[in-house]
């Protein structure tokens, strides 16, 4: 039976170079494992991985698409990172994204008679509130009743997914095509495009802005201080006078709201209507992004772009090499596991047992 042949010895401190190198080492290892899987599929891993990067960065089209994919990922990544910083384990970014998308669609198809810039702000606001409220339920349950947040946030994803499907197959079903999707939102509510002849839209600016705001909040506000303190030691925080309950609730609201903005972006900036598949799992990718980025806004930004590259590049790669684009999902899962395994090295050194 497997018995540890190595011993884990507690470390005193983590050398800085290690902290910076960790995400890269994790990516490297994850590429190695993914390559093995590609080999099993009978394809060449080197050309496959090369074509991922080429597809995402080597052409104008690819680069534009990478930016398009990065947009929701930045938001879900920072949403999850924000929550994790305060030890609120938000696995529900996917559902909060849908909540935001739902609210934005409602506002968008209501055809209000207001100028464009107000309309866009309206969509962002209702999307933020919807996402925030969707996260508030598990947040409140955790703060007041100590209910496990991992499971509750996860379950909320399924609930809203069914809600969205019910609405799209019911009252919001497109009467012309009869498909389960909403009608188009008012043109006044559409996000402007950032670059000509591309799909890159205003949502990217929103994402970058939010990352900046989160950075400010965490580092420069009282709330950010509370969140960091609770994330480090909830017991001491309570002893030292920090209102842990209130902080957890606010954390869940903000985190959910940010994820909601991701949904707004996809509706108002990319598809202009709501469909059941508006997110192929951006909320879950956000979790891996948050961890890969070390819960640090800059790191999250880089990690979001990394996964945007992977997802976009994988599409290209599948056409070029015949390796299905789902390799991106595999890379995502392996990266999380590798990161997790490596994080143990923050606390412990591995020593061989004599």
């Amino acid at each position: 039976m497997p018995l540890p042949k190595f011993r884990l010895e507690k470390r005193e401190s983590v050398p800085n170079w290690f902290r910076m190198a960790l995400p890269f080492i994790a990516i490297g290892i994850s590429f190695i494992f993914s390559s093995i899987i590609i080999l099993f599929a009978g394809k060449n891993p080197v050309t496959s991985i090369y074509s991922i990067f080429y597809g995402a960065l080597g052409t104008r089209l690819g680069l534009m698409e990478t930016l398009v994919k990065a947009t929701p990922l930045i938001l879900t990544g920072i949403a999850v990172s924000f929550a994790f910083t305060g030890k609120f384990w938000n696995i529900g970014a996917e559902g909060q994204l849908y909540a935001g998308a739902l609210a934005a669609t409602w506002a968008g198809i209501s055809n209000f008679n207001i100028p464009s810039f107000l309309y866009i702000i309206l969509l962002l606001v209702v999307g933020f509130i919807a996402g925030g409220l969707w996260a508030l339920i598990p947040g409140y349950l955790k703060a007041k009743l100590k209910v496990d947040d991992v499971v509750t946030t996860l379950l909320m994803n399924y609930i809203i997914l069914y809600l969205v499907t019910a609405i799209l197959e019911g009252p919001w079903r497109d009467p012309v095509t009869m498909w389960p999707q909403s009608i188009m939102i008012s043109p006044n509510a559409e996000f402007p495009k950032l670059l000509q002849k591309s799909r890159v839209h205003f949502g990217l600016i929103v994402g970058l802005l939010v990352v900046f705001l989160v950075y400010i909040i965490i580092k420069h506000t009282k709330l950010g201080f509370n969140i960091r303190a609770i994330g480090a030691n909830p017991n001491a925080s309570n002893f030292l006078g920090i209102n842990v309950t209130k902080t957890i609730i606010i954390t869940s609201l903000i985190s959910g709201g940010i994820a909601g903005l991701a949904g707004v972006g996809e509706v108002a900036g990319l598809h202009y209507h709501l469909t059941e598949n508006i997110s192929p799992g951006y909320g879950y990718t956000g979790i891996v992004i948050a961890m890969l980025g070390g819960l640090n806004p800059i790191g999250v930004l880089f990690a979001s772009f990394f996964f945007a590259i992977i997802i976009t590049g994988a599409q290209y790669m599948s056409r070029a090499t015949g390796v299905t684009s789902f390799i991106a999902d595999v890379i995502q899962g392996i990266t999380l596991l590798v990161l997790l395994a490596m994080l143990i090295l923050y606390e412990y050194r591995i020593r061989r047992v004599e």
Partner: protein
């Protein structure tokens, strides 16, 4: 007499403290030997070495005349040694029977509860320890749980039983029953090593008493030929020491007042019974006592993280019984917690943030939303200088600091807010002389400026050096109050081990 256990010249060092400094210990077959001493005297360490939970640095152990190496509890059990710890190792939802047969190598694939039950009942009859074998552990009283622990050991045919502070959580009735059991075990030829700090009990039950102090054996006595006073002296030392002359301070009004406080512990038993105590401005009140007699719960009640079952707390005549920690901080209550690393500081945060963590939300350190880092940093720099906190810079993570400097952080943080009252729980535990003196100086300063200090400490010297008034706590009750210099160390030692002040003269 048949020597069954012999430990020669046992040495064991932990970072910062020499727990066992060349201890010689022996036990005879069929004898009840007590190991007496304060916390930190080295008794539990010595026995954990015997049971294989710790490895000795040097020394030899002989069991039944043969030299042995004990590297794990399994080795100890194979040699016939069993230990009942202070914190029970029982599986709560299991029945008594299941707990007793758990992990036995003689268990078959399919367990037969009935046969095991019968065998257990035989053991119960033999040793006259009776518990319902079908009862769930969660339904049992503390005394009954202890019986299960003892049965667990006996069932494994152990000859040498080590009991670590077994009466700490028992009622007087249960103590009587335990002693009856121990006498029966003795008659059956078992050897019992009884670790305790309670003089009454040790005198009642032992055949021989060994007293440890500061990692060494300070004396061995025959209970029939000694008394409590002598034992107390061996435990805490007899030296007449120079009372540091404190300038008599002006006693002001009562600042902190605890009235009839009764409270539970985490384990669910009554930890504080009707405590009445107060602290006035301009004085240091020292609370002496062996750890585990309610000090932790008292600290939590005053800190605001535990609610009393009964009673009230007043701060300058305001009822603060139901206030939050933050409210107490704002009122001017400073708390130095016993657990400095897990409660007093957030180790993963940088030093300067820990220095302001109780006041960062007020002017000038922050506005409505934002923190004023320049202000916070310059303030922290000042504190670091003033308190001589050794740190490479402001922004390193607090966990890199040494013990003394950690405590200085806490002190600096509290004192910078000019509290009117300070609760200091074990403030110098594990610190070197320099850091200790520094902290003492600061506490005295608070007193001299008119503030009140409640000093909870296991270190009797510290209490005697600093306090204007001394209270002694034992088993959740105050045994008595004395003024500086009023009583000797021995007397206080007696109070710490169960004698009420009014009964002191009757101890010879």
């Amino acid at each position: 007499m048949d020597e069954i256990v012999l430990m020669k010249n046992i040495k064991k060092r932990f970072p910062g403290v020499l727990a066992n400094d060349g201890i010689d210990f022996y036990a005879n077959k069929g004898e009840i030997v007590s190991l007496l001493g304060e916390n930190g005297a080295g008794k539990t360490t010595l026995m954990k070495i015997l049971y294989g939970l710790y490895t000795k640095d040097s020394g030899e152990i002989f069991i039944k005349g043969k030299k042995v190496e004990i590297n794990s509890p399994k080795d100890a059990i194979n040699l016939g040694i069993g230990m009942v710890h202070q914190h029970f190792t029982l599986v709560n939802p299991f029945t008594v029977t299941e707990n007793i047969i758990l992990g036995l190598s003689s268990n078959r694939f399919i367990i037969n509860i009935e046969t095991s039950k019968e065998k257990i009942k035989e053991y119960m009859k033999k040793y006259e320890i009776f518990v319902d074998p079908d009862a769930k552990i969660s339904e049992l009283s503390v005394g009954e749980k202890q019986k299960v622990e003892i049965l667990k050991i006996l069932y494994r045919d152990i000859d040498i039983l080590i009991l670590d502070e077994p009466t700490a959580v028992l009622t007087p009735q249960e103590v009587k029953e335990l002693f009856k059991t121990l006498k029966i075990l003795k008659e059956e030829g078992k050897t019992i090593i009884f670790i305790s700090h309670k003089l009454y009990e040790v005198l009642e039950i032992s055949d021989r008493i060994i007293v440890l102090r500061n990692g060494k054996v300070s004396g061995e006595r025959d209970p029939k030929k000694t008394n409590r006073r002598e034992l107390a002296a061996l435990m805490v030392g007899k030296e007449v020491f120079d009372v540091i002359s404190l300038t008599p301070s002006e006693q002001k009004d009562v600042i902190l007042d605890l009235k009839e406080i009764t409270a539970l512990s985490y384990r669910g038993h009554i930890a504080l019974k009707n405590i009445n105590l107060n602290v006035k401005g301009g004085e240091i009140v020292g609370l002496a006592g062996v750890s585990g007699n309610g000090q932790k719960e008292l600290e939590e009640i005053i800190s605001g993280i535990r609610k009393p079952l009964k009673g009230k707390i007043f701060f300058k005549n305001i009822d603060i019984t139901h206030t939050t920690p933050k409210e107490r901080i704002n009122l001017g209550i400073g708390r130095i917690p016993e657990d400095r690393m897990d409660l007093g500081l957030i180790l993963d945060l940088p030093v300067f943030e820990n220095l302001v963590v109780e006041c960062y939300d007020k002017n000038p350190f922050s506005g409505k939303l934002f923190l004023n880092y320049p202000k916070i940093e310059s303030y922290s720099k000042k504190l670091i200088e003033e308190f001589d906190i050794r740190t490479p810079n402001l922004i390193v993570k607090t966990k890199t600091l040494s013990g003394g400097n950690l405590q200085k952080c806490i002190l600096a943080r509290i004192l910078s807010m000019n509290p009117e009252f300070i609760l200091a729980a074990q403030p110098t535990r594990g610190l070197d002389v320099g850091a200790t003196e520094f902290i003492h100086k600061k506490l005295l300063e608070v007193r001299d400026k008119g503030g009140g200090v409640l000093l909870i400490s296991e270190d009797l010297d510290e209490i005697l050096n600093l306090s204007d008034r001394i209270l002694v706590i034992y088993n959740g009750e105050i045994m008595g109050e004395l003024k500086r210099g009023e009583l000797t160390r021995e007397d206080i030692g007696l109070m710490m081990t169960g004698t009420k002040k009014e009964d002191l003269h009757a101890t010879t």
